[in-house]
């Protein structure tokens, strides 16, 4: 019998919970037990989220030694311990918690997005990416062959493919030149190892494939299938041989860090040496996902609901960061983006930003705002995490847990901000995941302090507008316009301008304009 330690997949539910809806007891359960029945008993239908959880637990228990439960969930009060001179808190979560290093790549696999592994050499970044390729049904050999290794001499032809030499000589037009496309372009899992060692010009070609999902050589186009991407970098700060172009960096959806190996788990490495096995070669067939299954996962993930309350928290958080009062004169242009596009000196412009409590204002902690792409990615991963946990709705905690990995490389801290000068906040200068989570917690605290959960007049007006304008009378429209104007007056009276207020005012201006246009249309009808 083959050494089967790596082939065992837990048959017990990976996320056990009592489901009241399914009251049908299955008599076949009598024969479900530890002993194999040779397929005699009909297997219970396995849902895709259960299958992905099986894959997760197989990876963390058998393949990648990552005993870091940094995505913490609690079903009740957790046990906490204060440790060391710095009085850091060690939490023992009371709910099922996960290792980001395995979970985020798996969610990337399920949603066909792009994940960057960062961390020092020899920490299993490439091995993890290969595992994802094997989960998609490719052999280890094919995955290895298709993996692109970044190096300083890498050309566009190395990356995408070559024109056939004979065609180059004989062709009368570009159309007659056939291209030998690289095999990796058609893979469902694409792996770029050490992407920050790819020269800038080749990075641009890679950007087209990553961003638009096609490759182009000599006017010939290769349409790539929908796929999950895994990139590795030894230095997430864009080091290596070449600076990573911003647009390429922006295409990466999540960044996960390979944490240090815990030598307490050395015995597991010893087993691999003694048995001469590599986990990526032992992936159980039952954990391999077909293309149709991944399509179905995509549909199920998108169907996960984001409750209004959770969406509002995300809105409130995101609205903290873009405002930069000295950045512009017209209301719409008072943003960090305006200042950045103008190439303004950051220190100078920040020094001009006076009047607000820079310690309290969360917007002062960052040098930029959150982009549309970032927000869409955040919502998608929050849905994916909720789905992975077997839920039909996103919880606030799901957003809180994925947010640092989505914004890791996107929301840049202003390390000169007063927040980072406070001694107890000094670790946030290096620990970006914790800083982003803290930022989200602070935003939530502010949301609750302002009582926006119960009293959100802008939300009420937005909801009213969302009902549609059909049948709204001229009188009612005027009343609503007055209401908006009064609300703007009340919101701005004697108050300093913070990010969330700035976005609320812009939203009110938008509503005012829509009602104004509607009013003009109504008048034209009579």
């Amino acid at each position: 019998m083959a050494f089967d330690f790596f082939q065992k997949v837990s048959r017990a539910p990976t996320n056990p919970r009592t489901r009241s809806a399914a009251r049908a007891f299955d008599v076949a359960d009598l024969y479900n037990g530890p002993v194999e029945t040779g397929g005699a008993a009909p297997a219970a239908e396995q849902t895709l989220d259960e299958k992905l959880r099986q894959a997760y637990f197989w990876i963390v228990n058998k393949a990648i030694i990552s005993p870091h439960y940094d995505i913490e969930y609690n079903d009740g009060p957790p046990q906490t311990f204060t440790v060391g001179d710095s009085r850091r808190v060690l939490t023992l979560p009371s709910g099922q918690s996960y290792s980001s290093y395995v979970l985020l790549p798996l969610l990337t696999f399920a949603t066909r997005r792009k994940c960057l592994f960062v961390g020092g050499p020899g920490r299993g970044k490439t091995a993890s990416a290969i595992l994802m390729g094997v989960l998609a049904g490719a052999s280890v050999k094919d995955v290895r062959r298709a993996m692109q290794h970044g190096h300083p001499q890498m050309t566009i032809a190395d990356l995408l493919g070559n024109p056939l030499p004979s065609d180059l000589v004989n062709a009368q037009s570009m159309d007659e030149i056939r291209i030998a496309w690289r095999a990796w372009l058609s893979m469902r899992v694409k792996i770029i190892d050490e992407y920050n060692r790819i020269p800038t010009r080749t990075q641009s070609a890679l950007l087209t494939v990553m961003g638009d999902n096609y490759a182009e050589v000599l006017n010939h186009v290769f349409e790539c299938p929908e796929s999950a991407w895994y990139l590795t970098a030894n230095d997430d700060q864009g080091g290596g041989t070449y600076q990573v172009i911003d647009a390429l960096r922006d295409r990466i959806d999540v960044v996960v860090q390979a944490l240090a190996f815990n030598p307490r788990f050395l015995d597991e490495l010893l087993v691999r040496i003694e048995e001469d096995v590599r986990p990526e070669e032992m992936v159980p067939q039952t954990l391999v996902f077909s293309e149709a299954e991944i399509d179905a996962i995509g549909r199920q993930v998108r169907a996960v609901a984001v409750p209004d309350g959770v969406r509002r928290r995300v809105e409130f958080f995101a609205s903290q960061f873009e405002l930069l009062e000295p950045g512009g004169t017209q209301f719409e242009y008072m943003t960090k983006d305006t200042a950045r596009l103008a190439g303004a000196d950051w220190r100078e412009i920040v020094a001009a930003d006076t009047g607000r409590d820079r310690m309290k204002d969360l917007g002062c902690q960052t040098r930029n705002g959150v982009s549309v792409r970032n927000l869409m990615t955040l919502l998608l991963y929050a849905k994916a995490l909720a789905w992975f946990r077997g839920n039909h709705e996103v919880e606030l905690e799901d957003v809180r847990q994925v947010l640092p990995f989505v914004l890791h490389d996107k929301l840049h801290p202003d390390l000169g901000a007063p927040f980072f000068a406070v001694p107890e906040n000094a670790p946030f200068r290096t620990d970006r995941v914790s800083w982003l989570r803290r930022l989200f917690d602070l935003a939530n605290g502010e949301f609750l302090r302002l009582d926006l959960e119960r009293d959100d007049p802008v939300g009420v007006l937005s909801a009213q507008f969302a009902q549609g304008l059909d049948g709204v009378s001229e009188r009612e429209t005027r009343a609503r316009l007055v209401k908006i104007e009064k609300l703007i007056g009340a919101q701005t009276k004697g108050r300093k301008l913070y990010g969330h207020l700035y976005d609320d005012l812009l939203k009110l201006k938008y509503l005012h304009q829509r009602y104004t246009n509607y009013l003009a249309w109504l008048r034209a009808q009579t």
């Binding site: 019998m1 083959a2 050494f3 089967d4 330690f5 065992k8 009592t18 009241s20 009251r23 049908a24 007891f25 299955d26 008599v27 076949a28 359960d29 009598l30 024969y31 479900n32 037990g33 530890p34 002993v35 194999e36 029945t37 040779g38 397929g39 005699a40 008993a41 087993v271 048995e275």
Partner: protein
């Protein structure tokens, strides 16, 4: 002394079996070698001898399946000094040899079905594993196929107290020859299967002449004494059973003529059920009685 045929099979595939043992120890670090060898000697050896008498060419396949199953069971400490109860051992010793013919043809399936069933029933408080073994032994002469074995096991599990299997077991009856189904149900003589099924479907407390059935059951005890409830339970009626809450845990209670079983539920589901006034709670077929001074629930046919 190890039975000869068994010893021959082990010797012939020594390297392979040693490899399996090695792999199993990686998976189950607590796997006790002496317990495993003892189980092979006391349970697998006699089975090999029994099969040898019927189908000598199938012995190796039976030993193969038994060896793997034994590794799994010993590795999980389901047999040996740490095991709770003797249901599994009894099943291997008393029931499995009665199905030697089926075992020869489908070794992995039969070993798996009988082992898992014994473990499943032993894990449900109040079920009668001994009765299940006896009924399976009694029916063994009439069971000729794997499908019949599976269905008979399910029907007997229900009759041995797994009340939540009621619907599935009744459905299994329809897959069996009528005589076998009537025998398994201990139906009154001369009553056709359709009639028995109709009665059973209409009244969960109907049991004909079956001595294992009765019209009342009791379930529940203080968790400090090994029971299920940490506090006197509160009961609410549901469509096909009762919802029970004791402290921060909730259960779904299913009861019929053959037993009463608690399955996990949620506090939310309990909260959705209409509250009950007093200690007596009634649904369409059953009266449930409890009191603030007891951890038990008495169930009586309505």
């Amino acid at each position: 002394m190890m039975p000869t045929v068994f010893a021959e099979v082990l010797a012939a595939r020594r390297a392979d079996y040693n490899g399996r043992m090695h792999a199993a120890r990686q998976r189950y670090p607590r796997l006790a070698q002496d317990v495993f060898l003892g189980f092979l000697h006391s349970h697998v050896g006699p089975l090999a001898e029994t099969v040898d008498a019927l189908a000598p060419l199938r012995v190796a396949g039976v030993v193969d399946a038994c060896y793997d199953a034994a590794l799994e069971l010993v590795g999980r400490a389901l047999v040996g000094p740490a095991a709770a109860g003797s249901a599994l051992r009894d099943s291997w010793r008393d029931v499995m040899p009665r199905f030697a013919g089926l075992l020869a043809g489908h070794p992995a399936e039969v070993v798996g079905l009988l082992s898992n069933a014994a473990l499943y029933l032993a894990a449900i408080p109040g079920t009668r594993c001994g009765q299940w073994n006896q009924e399976m032994i009694a029916a063994s002469a009439s069971i000729g196929t794997l499908a019949q074995l599976r269905a008979a096991g399910q029907i007997n599990a229900w009759r041995a107290g797994a009340a939540h299997f009621r619907a599935g077991a009744l459905a299994a009856c329809t897959t069996l020859p009528e005589a076998l189904a009537l025998a398994l149900l201990h139906a009154p003589p001369g009553v056709p299967l359709d009639e028995v099924m109709r009665q059973m479907a209409a009244d969960p407390w109907w049991h004909g002449l079956d001595v294992h059935g009765c019209r009342e059951r009791e379930i529940g005890a203080f968790s400090g004494f090994g029971g299920q409830f940490g506090a006197p339970p509160e009961v609410r009626a549901a469509d096909d059973g009762f919802l029970v809450r004791a402290r921060d845990r909730a259960f779904f209670l299913v009861a019929d003529a053959y037993g009463a079983v608690l399955r996990p539920s949620s506090i939310e589901e309990f909260g959705l059920a209409p509250p009950n006034n007093g200690d007596v709670c009634v649904n369409a077929t059953t009266v449930a009685v409890t009191a603030p001074t007891t951890h038990a629930i008495r169930l009586v046919a309505a």
